[in-house]
């Protein structure tokens, strides 16, 4: 058992200039002074996988809905025997989580309940999932129909003559309430299947660990995962559009994609252009509902709202195709590799074990696509619509003088937004100015300063004393918070200077210059042959995955999006290194070993000469590796 501890949240001073930050958030989200004893008794880890940067007051809706709905399914719908939900707090602007176990005495009684409830879903998976598709699309449609136009000077005459009896103020408040309620609903759908996906995966995982002690986590992931998921459709659509542009002879029109209207108009005007535009429009809905972030921030850019992003990627793909490169994911190789791995393990099992292996694997493979695809429907599509609507509302209130900038509303808590809205409709009703414009601009500015100050300080990886062993299944699977990981964070790692250890999330070995990216806005800096180092990655970074040699992240387990995506692109990845992105500097020459989960700084500064030598060294490594698969081992000795 480790004797070291992480700091208590009660002993940590806020960042300079962030004094009073707690008042930005709801009382139930912060560590309250009079609860010190209760809160210090729990172990909290920072979820920088989903919330890598400071969460503004309105943005707490993301973790409040997501994490409470996760808990709701464990605790109230499915009655997962040993696991309730996950408590969450915000500390110095970052999100911390603490899993809630089930008292020993209550576990047995939950078993039959769980079996009846979860068992029903597993037995009726396909039908219920089809129903889910209908429910989530219906919810997205309802969200899409919301509208936050400013109130008219006078009530429409028809509403008067029809005897409607209520005004547009009523509708505006209802629309806001619907925005929140529909999103809450979508997050419940998010977890309707996800937890089940994880437990089926966990069952197969545990079996593999038992019959093949020490089997790499990656082996289990590779046997289960699909290769043709909806989550990869957006990127695949871009590749198709790039090929179509070449086929139709339109490649000259993608030179400058910074102005999408102009680019698209240029394409429409030429022969073959309308055909391409039609294909582009088809792909747009729904596949461009794809964020460069992760769906949890108001500033997330969605392709649909920023067509320069997909157009830029298409232009990149065209260039690579013209240079003779392959841009498709190695789907056939991935399938062949998955089959090989499955077959080789199968061959080692007794008939009885084989039946269990195949049964569990079959179920895991049936439920697994949801584990990847839900991300598109909720984080990308639903949240894309949600943020678009929220931005519309914020901009409308900006026009009404509530705040000077378009994003002002996100510095208010969602209940304060409702207060502000009521203030606005009251002013409209009374015929006197609302109070907001003389209150919020200063307050929003004050809060912005605090958020900026919080942003300057990185969070602790965890708080308080960790348990001897982490056993909670979701903490292990989703977040990759293992006992080893905690040791790493505490500085107990035996890794030598200049080496980082994490999860061997996707196999292969690569060397190259580091490119440290802390936000998706820096994606355009990524160069061919770089090794991407980031706190966390998003599925929508797919288009740059063709350029890079490997990926390194600070946080994330085998099932994190970075891990899934790298496996799907057949690229080495080490996830959950803890601190790599804050310690590695762009330009350092790295070696990433996705088989062993290590990242090594080979050279501090890859200056021009060294870079040249090293790329020769890299060539040698590649040759060696090719040789190891081929003629060297076959070869003669003469």
């Amino acid at each position: 058992m480790t004797e070291k501890s992480f700091p208590s949240p009660y002993d940590q001073a806020p960042a300079d200039g962030a004094e009073g930050w707690k008042e930005l958030y709801a009382y139930n989200l912060v560590f309250q002074q009079n609860r010190r004893e209760v809160e210090e008794a729990k172990f909290w880890f920072c979820d920088s996988q989903h919330w890598p940067t400071v969460t503004k007051p309105f943005e707490t809706i993301g973790f409040e809905f997501a994490v409470s709905c996760l808990g709701q399914y464990n605790t109230r719908h499915l009655l997962i025997p040993p696991a309730n939900g996950i408590e969450f707090r915000i500390h110095n602007g970052y999100v911390f989580m603490s899993p809630v176990g089930v008292p020993e005495s209550e576990i047995a009684a939950r078993v039959p309940e769980f079996m009846a409830r979860a068992g029903h879903y597993f037995q009726n998976w396909d039908g219920l999932l089809e129903q889910w598709q209908g429910k989530i699309r219906g919810t997205i449609d309802e969200l899409g129909a919301l509208n936050f136009d400013a109130l008219p000077d006078k009530v429409n005459i028809n509403d008067v003559t029809s005897g409607k009896g209520t005004g547009p103020n009523n509708d505006l408040l209802a629309q806001y309430d619907a925005l929140i309620a529909l999103t809450y609903r979508a997050w419940q759908y998010h977890f309707e299947f996800l937890n089940l996906g994880y437990v089926a995966y966990l069952d197969f995982f545990s079996f593999c660990k038992e019959v093949f002690p020490g089997i790499p986590d990656q082996a289990v992931a590779k046997m289960v995962q699909g290769v043709d998921m909806e989550l990869f459709r957006p990127d695949d659509e871009l590749k198709k559009l790039a090929k179509l542009a070449i086929e139709l002879g339109l490649t000259g029109l993608f030179g400058n994609t910074a102005n999408p209207e102009q680019t698209l108009a240029g394409i429409t005007a030429v022969t073959g252009g309308p055909e391409w535009i039609a294909a582009f429009n088809d792909a747009k809905d729904p596949w461009f509902n794809f964020t460069v972030g992760n769906g949890f921030y108001a500033h997330d850019k969605y392709w649909l709202d920023h067509l320069e992003l997909p157009l830029g990627y298409i232009s990149d793909y065209i260039g690579r195709l013209q240079a003779g490169q392959t841009i498709d994911r190695p789907v056939a190789e991935l399938v062949a590799e998955r089959d090989r791995i499955t077959e080789e393990y199968s061959e080692l099992l007794s008939p009885e074990q084989l039946a269990a292996f195949e049964g569990k694997l079959g179920l895991a493979r049936q439920v697994y696509p949801y584990v990847e695809n839900h991300n598109f429907y909720i984080e990308h599509w639903t949240m894309g619509v949600f943020w678009r609507k929220a931005r519309q509302l914020s901009a409308m209130l900006q026009e009404q003088g509530f705040w000077p900038d378009a994003d002002g509303m996100f510095f208010l808590r969602r209940d304060e937004v409702r207060e502000a809205l009521f203030d606005y409709v009251t002013g409209w009703a009374v015929g006197a100015p609302a109070i907001g414009p003389s209150y919020w601009p200063e307050e929003v500015e004050r809060r912005r300063v605090i958020v900026d100050a919080l942003q300057k300080q990185r969070p602790q990886p965890a708080l308080n004393t960790p348990p001897a062993v982490i056993t909670e299944p979701f903490t292990l699977m989703l977040w990759g918070i293992t006992s080893d990981q905690i040791k790493n964070w505490l500085g107990d790692s035996d890794a030598p200077e200049g080496e980082f250890r994490g999860m061997a999330a996707s196999s292969g070995v690569a060397e190259g210059p580091a490119r440290v990216i802390s936000s998706s806005d820096q994606l355009s800096e990524v160069q061919e042959g770089d090794i991407l180092v980031a706190p966390v990655t998003a599925p929508s970074w797919g288009p740059i995955f063709g350029k890079i040699r490997a990926t390194v992240t600070d946080i994330g387990g085998m099932m994190s999006h970075a891990a899934i995506v790298c496996r799907e692109y057949g690229m080495p990845a080490v996830t959950g290194t803890g601190t790599a992105s804050s310690q590695i500097v762009t330009g350092q020459w790295l070696r990433v070993d996705g088989n062993n989960g290590t990242v090594t700084i080979v050279l501090d500064h890859a200056d021009a000469d060294h870079a040249h030598d090293l790329s020769l060294a890299h060539e040698a490594v590649i040759q060696l590796e090719q040789a190891l698969d081929g003629p060297v081992l076959e070869g003669s000795h003469a």
């Binding site: 040993p82 176990g101 078993v111 597993f122 019959v211 080789e344 056993t471 909670e472 070995v509 088989n595």
Partner: protein, 363 residues
């Protein structure tokens, strides 16, 4: 039937015959023919030994001296052993046998730009059988230079059939002396930077999804004979990923002396002891070759390997031996992978897994 040859090169076209080549040489021929990187060399076949014994006219003497021996009478066994070995080491080799050997030795040397040292190893017909762990009962002579030195040690190998240990072993295991013969391997010496063994299963658990390797600096003899504590690395056989590393003390290494005339045992520095003797790339290469050997021979293998410091990286891994793993491979598949608590599938097993994972179930 044609007369059996006195010599067979490992990379010749003839199929390996166990009776002619003995276990070790048959395996080296099979490995070479399977495209494995085996150091070049040749077998002095059992036909050579048989011709030598026939020419010496001592076959009847051997049988009568061994006939009524008591395995527990150590002094008598030692006396008979000494006499038989003297008989063998003092007799001349028949001219035809010698001529073929000399030609083969020169043919081997002609493959290199300068004279290379060789290893001479016995290859008994009763050795290395799957159900008789006879390994190590016969002799190995390393780093021999020049034809006279080699000839002398070939005779010593032949004589090693009659060491006290070998005689006692045969007596106790009821292995008859009739038809006893021996082949000898003459093989280019590997100038090993690191060497060791690998088993294509986990011998402690019987888990066949693992490859367990031991590695140490210098020639592999110190690992094989247990004179150093080697590095121990466990690799997942299917993924070829390292799942466990234990750094061994490896206090000594066997390397060529500065004049290159023989071997010398040196102390290994503290810094080199503290790190693995093989790189990650080399671990993968060794695991790959072990897996290939297992696939070729269709049963778990116990291999000896070496990394030759005279060969370029990527081409320096050599396979010295591969033989069936005899301790665990007789176990059935059921226990090979260990008993599983989470058998079955569906909601019952999912529930059980959740409870086991959370440490809330004992079974």
């Amino acid at each position: 039937m044609t007369t059996a040859p006195y010599i067979q090169f490992f990379d010749g076209a003839d199929a390996p015959r166990h009776d002619l080549l003995g276990g070790k040489c048959a395996s080296l021929v099979a490995l070479t023919q399977a495209g494995m990187p085996v150091p070049p060399g040749f077998a002095i076949t059992t036909a050579s030994y048989d011709a030598f014994i026939a020419a010496a006219g001592i076959e009847q003497d051997i049988h009568s001296m061994l006939a009524h021996l008591d395995a527990d009478d150590v002094a008598e066994v030692d006396r008979v052993s000494a006499q038989l070995r003297y008989e063998i080491e003092s007799r001349p080799v028949p001219a035809a046998v010698r001529a073929d050997f000399v030609a083969a030795y020169h043919a081997l040397q002609a493959r290199f730009s300068e004279p290379v040292p060789v290893a001479v190893r016995s290859s008994a017909t009763a050795e290395d059988l799957p159900d008789a762990s006879f390994a190590g009962q016969q002799d190995t002579y390393l780093w021999l230079n020049g034809i006279d030195d080699v000839t002398e040690h070939i005779r010593r190998c032949w004589a090693s059939l009659f060491t006290s240990r070998a005689i006692t072993y045969r007596l106790k295991n009821n292995i008859p002396n009739e038809g006893l013969s021996m082949a000898v391997a003459v093989q280019k010496m590997v100038n090993a930077r690191a060497a060791g063994v690998a088993i294509t299963m986990d011998p402690t658990t019987g888990d066949r999804s693992k490859i367990v390797m031991e590695a140490s600096y210098g020639l592999g003899e110190l690992v094989v004979s247990g004179l150093v504590t080697p590095d121990n690395v466990t690799v997942d056989k299917i993924m070829l990923m390292v799942v466990k590393r234990v750094i061994g003390d490896k206090h000594a290494e066997l390397v060529p002396d500065p004049a290159n005339t023989g071997l010398v045992e040196l102390e290994v520095s503290a810094a080199r002891r503290a790190v693995l003797s093989i790189s990650e790339t080399e671990i993968t290469a060794i695991a790959t070759i072990a897996k290939k050997a297992e696939k070729h021979f269709t049963c778990p293998q116990d291999i000896e390997w070496a990394l030759d410091r005279d060969l370029p990286n990527g081409q320096n891994l050599l396979l010295l031996q591969s033989r069936p793993e005899t301790v665990h491979s007789s176990r059935t598949k059921t226990d090979a992978a260990g008993p599983a608590r989470t058998t079955g599938y569906g909601i019952e097993s999912i529930t059980r897994s959740l409870l086991v994972q959370a440490g809330k179930a004992t079974d």
